[in-house]
Symmetry: C2
Subunit: 202 residues, 2 copies
DNA sequence: CGCGGGTTTGATGATGCTCAAGCCCGGTGG
DNA sequence: CCACCGGGCTTGAGCATCATCAAACCCGCG
């Protein structure tokens, strides 16, 4: 990776952290030493089903997805990650067991990679980093609970409308069939839902 | 509440905490001072939609549920809580905004109630309490992600089988229609799923 | 006993899936 | 510059799963 791009990656991380807490230069010095910049080409994997997940990733640029493959070979997207998001299989990382998920890139992407040990160092370095992480975890937990609630109570159309409202940036960047997968419907159904909406809007 | 029952409640909490970390007598002294024992009669509420959630609850005895009500008036169960589980609307608690959920008791239940401030004290009192809490949050997050994965990839029958396997204690204690609600199907459908399973098993 | 909540069963229907074909559009090579 | 290819989206017809509505059944409790 070019030095220029590396610098930009760390700039992005710094801005992200700074949003959540003050950060002195020497603190950021340490932080930088713990993360490794990595570029991931479109359709390349950073985690495959059956592997143990050893890293967390901060997305500097691009789009990644976390998904499972069921016994019929169908993909089911659990999470997207765009700029400024984190992605990883926390379950595999904590348990040290094989992951049931895959993570790959939907576009050429730049990420900052951090392994488990470095991450421990990172959050134990300062309480404010730990707070930042825990707050992020809570937000993720709340978003997942919201998604469960929606699965329990919404039709395909309602789930799509909710998503447009809550994650417009994802809608605008990700191919429709992936949106469908995330919503738990087929691409055909999503197409029909959209047709219906545009009809009723005009 | 009778003193005897109160003591038993704190015993349960102590055993729970001890499972996760050592605990000295004087530490537990403090912990006890932060929680309030409460009994909840069957069908009584500790949180209603529209209220701000001000407490977390540790279940000593009984069964509670967290659920939403959709615009058709249907209930959708997000979470059960049995002995040794925690229940609360974390989202409302963190944001300070009105909850979209209800929490009530499915049986006469004993819980230990703790308000937001006391909880802050609790986890800031010792790093091991904070660790315990964060680990619990991660586990909850992982369980929610698993549930999302299941919604995306499983049929009604598969979800039910998964639940039998993962939460047999809930299956054995909770009326069928509530299991159905948790799985996102109707009581009638669950009844038929069970019929099918018993047919194919014999 | 008989009442009542919960579960089961049956008949019918809606939502979303499957499979197959057509369409749109951007990229590539002649 | 245009023809053609291919991926992704759309459309259509038939179908499966699960929902709905209504009735019967079961069983514990007053």
């Amino acid at each position: 990776m070019k030095q220029d791009k590396i610098n930009k990656s760390f700039d992005a991380l710094r801005i992200y952290i700074q949003k959540h807490s003050d950060l002195k230069d020497e603190e950021f010095e340490l932080v930088s030493s713990l993360f490794t910049p990595v570029t991931i080409k479109r359709n390349h994997f950073i985690l495959r089903e059956g592997e143990i997940c050893r890293y967390g990733y901060f997305v500097v640029k691009g789009t990644l997805r976390l998904y499972s493959i069921d016994k019929k070979g169908e993909e089911h997207i659990i999470q997207f990650a765009l700029e400024d998001w984190w992605i990883s299989d926390v379950s595999s990382m904590i348990s040290g067991k094989a992951s049931i998920y895959n993570i790959d890139a939907l576009e050429d992407s730049d990420v900052l990679q951090i392994d488990k040990n470095s991450f421990e160092k990172f959050i134990s370095f300062s309480p404010k980093f730990e707070k930042m992480f825990n707050l992020g975890s809570q937000k993720s937990r709340i978003a997942l609970q919201e998604r469960v609630t929606n699965f329990l109570s919404m039709t395909a159309e309602e789930k799509y409308l909710f998503m447009i409202n809550k994650y417009p940036d994802i809608i605008n960047r990700v191919p429709q069939r992936h949106i469908a997968s995330f919503l738990g419907i087929t691409p055909e159904s999503l197409s029909r839902v959209r047709k219906n909406l545009s009809k009723n809007r005009s």
